[in-house]
Symmetry: C2
Subunit: 405 residues, 2 copies
DNA sequence: GCAAATTAGTAAAGCGGTTTAATTAAGTCT
DNA sequence: AGACTTAATTAAACCGCTTTACTAATTTGC
């Protein structure tokens, strides 16, 4: 508080080192010793000592006492205190909403699927969902005020910077909804808002099929078709937040003359509605059910079903191939209602892509399934929470006392 | 030399600050004072004083003496010494090769277009080109040993890390050519090798139509069709160095059954060869000539020409649209023989894209034309040179004397 | 069982780099 | 001419890291 420039520069090095120690603490799943930190970071023993001390005082790292000796003084173990703070994730879908509470390492402590409250305006819906979050917080024994951040996803165009859902066609009345602000007020914690497909790719990249892939894509195949992209390790949104909007991908010159985005684009030719139009047994039932039947019938040899599935697979394959040619990801993850089934569609897509792209990346089925966006929301929430903690550490080096044990 | 850890950490901060001062010096086109550096970097006056002193002693910054007072002591101006070192750029094309020499700010000092030596093996061709570079160095009055880096581009698959051109179909005998190593030996300076389309997008991003666009694409339309991508400010190559290979983009389900990459892909349907097949007056002439005539004829109403052009434009438009949907760039730059003409093709592409993509980015003609890859090669060479300089600065903190005046 | 060796961690001293404060330098303005 | 400004340097203090020296606790060897 005395110095002015010093705070931004002199402390810079300390900040960097503190961050790297903290990152290491989080990375290690289990307990660790000071010596391990020394080896991993390359910092000297005294420095590590003071930094670790600071982390312990803040409550972010918990002292576990001494462990068994390995031929000398017994090491004192410690552990990242993942329960120092908590995050919530919300994934609002057209029909179902998934909510979860997790600790700072992303371990899920409570989870619930609720029907997306129908017939409510955005504000009421969100306040009801916030109530659900509070229930989950109680269920997970989260002390009051320990919710550090919230990640929230919605199916539609999202202005992430302002936390506003600009337009969600599948949610009634959702235009220009300040979702971030509403949830922030209701829950008393900062909120990140993100598009659900983007969250899905982040989820798969974090805990699903795309772990370790620097550049990858998640293609959601359902009523809507869309892709989320991770490019060189970071989510890519595009200049108008439109990256991955392959729903509108033009499937050939013969479709160009037609109306804007209504025919001839991928989603209208291969989306759930297109399949429904070609399969008589749809009725009003849940998509998951009749899609499953449709694929079974195709497998069994039903000509109509087979044709419908093949055509969709071909188009999706072309789209995946074209995406591959543009981005050259090392992996494409397929998810959504159309692949809930498993492998049949994926095999066909793989075949098509291999026919177009010389060195195609892997193509696999989502590991997290319908929970992918929820995991993504937990991730972005967690990142926000950690960011806040880092900031707090840098500032309040002299916090009177850390948190609860 | 005494300490071990300290050398890597204590000096770290100095390195960072030195870099930021140097970056600022380069950024400013004209002279600047210490005070300006203080304001811009946030560093203190004494620190800036010593850092600037070090830069001046090294020769990277030139003292210009005092300037007029503004009510107090006269400021002493200085300037980045762009002539402290030099870089060369080489762009090898199928028929013509462009070479240039520039200073550390990228100002071109000498430039030459030579026919790509025909009938020679890669090694001889490169040594001949190296000779040309030496001529240009002399022409630009570059003192011996002041060539700090070389950027080189080739039309084909490039393994950038090893500096090897894996395969260049348009250059005879070019398979697994260690271009980087050969040029490095011949010119005595480190070499970066990069694909020519990638260089083109870098060129346009640096000095051409794409200045200031964080995410953009350059689509080269000629004998081959390919795109170079800048994503969030950095060149994106993809996992197999295949990003932007839209030549193979599949133009519709009707083409899927066909042979791998031979029919039904963008390049075979809309490339120069496809146009040549539909225009009788091609003969053996230079593409630039008959393409020009073809477009003129189309404009004038020649039915055959018109159809050929329209079809190509439609396909290119679809490809650009699909690329837009995947990447959502704020700008697409079109270049290559097909747009040498100017706007006619571009207008049509714009029309198609606007029909498919809701919020399309700008679509413009290349500003740098055939020189785009050359500019890109200068850029990557310059970056390499600057990197080397930064490294040298960090090391030689105790050099008895800097370079020549 | 006791000394030597090993491992873990802390205290003290020193170094590099940066900051603030004070000083020098060279003006302009009244 | 004297007061105030602006620019840059010197002097002193500070901060954080590293090395060295030291304490602590335990295994190992005899």
């Amino acid at each position: 508080m005395r110095t002015k420039r010093n705070a931004g520069v002199g402390t810079l090095l300390r900040g960097i080192n503190l961050d790297s120690v903290l990152a290491l603490a989080i990375d290690r799943d289990g307990p660790f010793t000071r010596t391990e930190v020394i080896d991993a970071t390359g910092l000297s023993a005294p420095t590590v000592g003071t930094l670790v001390g600071r982390l312990i005082r803040s409550g972010l790292v918990r002292d576990l006492g001494t462990g068994p000796s390995s031929g000398g003084r017994r090491p004192s173990f410690m552990e990242f205190n993942a329960r120092h703070g908590f995050v919530a994730g919300i994934d609002i879908g057209p029909t179902k909403t998934r909510i979860a509470v997790a600790d700072l390492r992303g371990e899920r402590l409570a989870y619930r699927v609720v029907p997306t409250p129908p017939g409510l305006g955005p504000a009421e819906m969100l306040s009801r969902l916030a109530k659900e979050v509070r229930v989950l917080l109680k269920e997970a024994n989260v002390p009051h005020g320990r919710l550090l951040a919230v990640g929230a996803g919605a199916p539609g165009a999202v202005d992430r910077d302002r936390g506003v859902v600009s337009l969600a066609p599948n949610l009634k009345g959702w235009t220009e909804v300040p979702m971030g602000a509403i949830l922030q007020r209701a829950l008393g914690a900062p909120v990140v808002v993100e598009n659900d497909v983007n969250l899905a790719v982040l989820g798969e990249h974090w805990r699903g099929a795309a772990r370790g892939h620097g550049t990858c894509a998640f293609i959601a195949l359902g009523t809507g078709i869309g892709a989320g992209l991770v490019v060189d390790g970071a989510l890519h949104r595009g200049h108008h937040f439109l990256a991955g909007e392959i729903a509108l991908m033009c499937m050939g010159p013969q479709f160009v003359g037609q109306d804007f985005g209504s025919r001839g684009c991928l989603e209208t030719l291969a989306g759930l509605k297109a399949l429904a139009a070609r399969w008589p047994h749809v009725a009003q039932r849940d998509p998951d059910q009749w899609v499953s039947e449709l694929f079974d019938a195709a497998e069994a040899g039903d000509l109509q079903a087979r044709q419908a599935v093949d055509e969709a697979a071909t188009l999706i394959g072309i789209a995946a191939a074209n995406l591959s040619l543009v981005l050259d990801p090392s992996l494409i993850v397929l998810g959504g209602a159309l692949v809930q089934q498993g492998e049949p569609l994926v095999r066909e897509v793989r075949r098509i892509v291999a026919r177009v792209v010389p060195g195609p990346g892997e193509i696999v089925v989502s590991e997290l399934g319908k929970e992918a966006p929820l995991w993504g929301s937990l991730l972005v929430g967690m990142n926000l929470a950690r960011e806040g903690l880092r900031g707090a550490l840098r500032e309040g080096l002299s916090l009177p006392s850390g948190g609860a044990s």
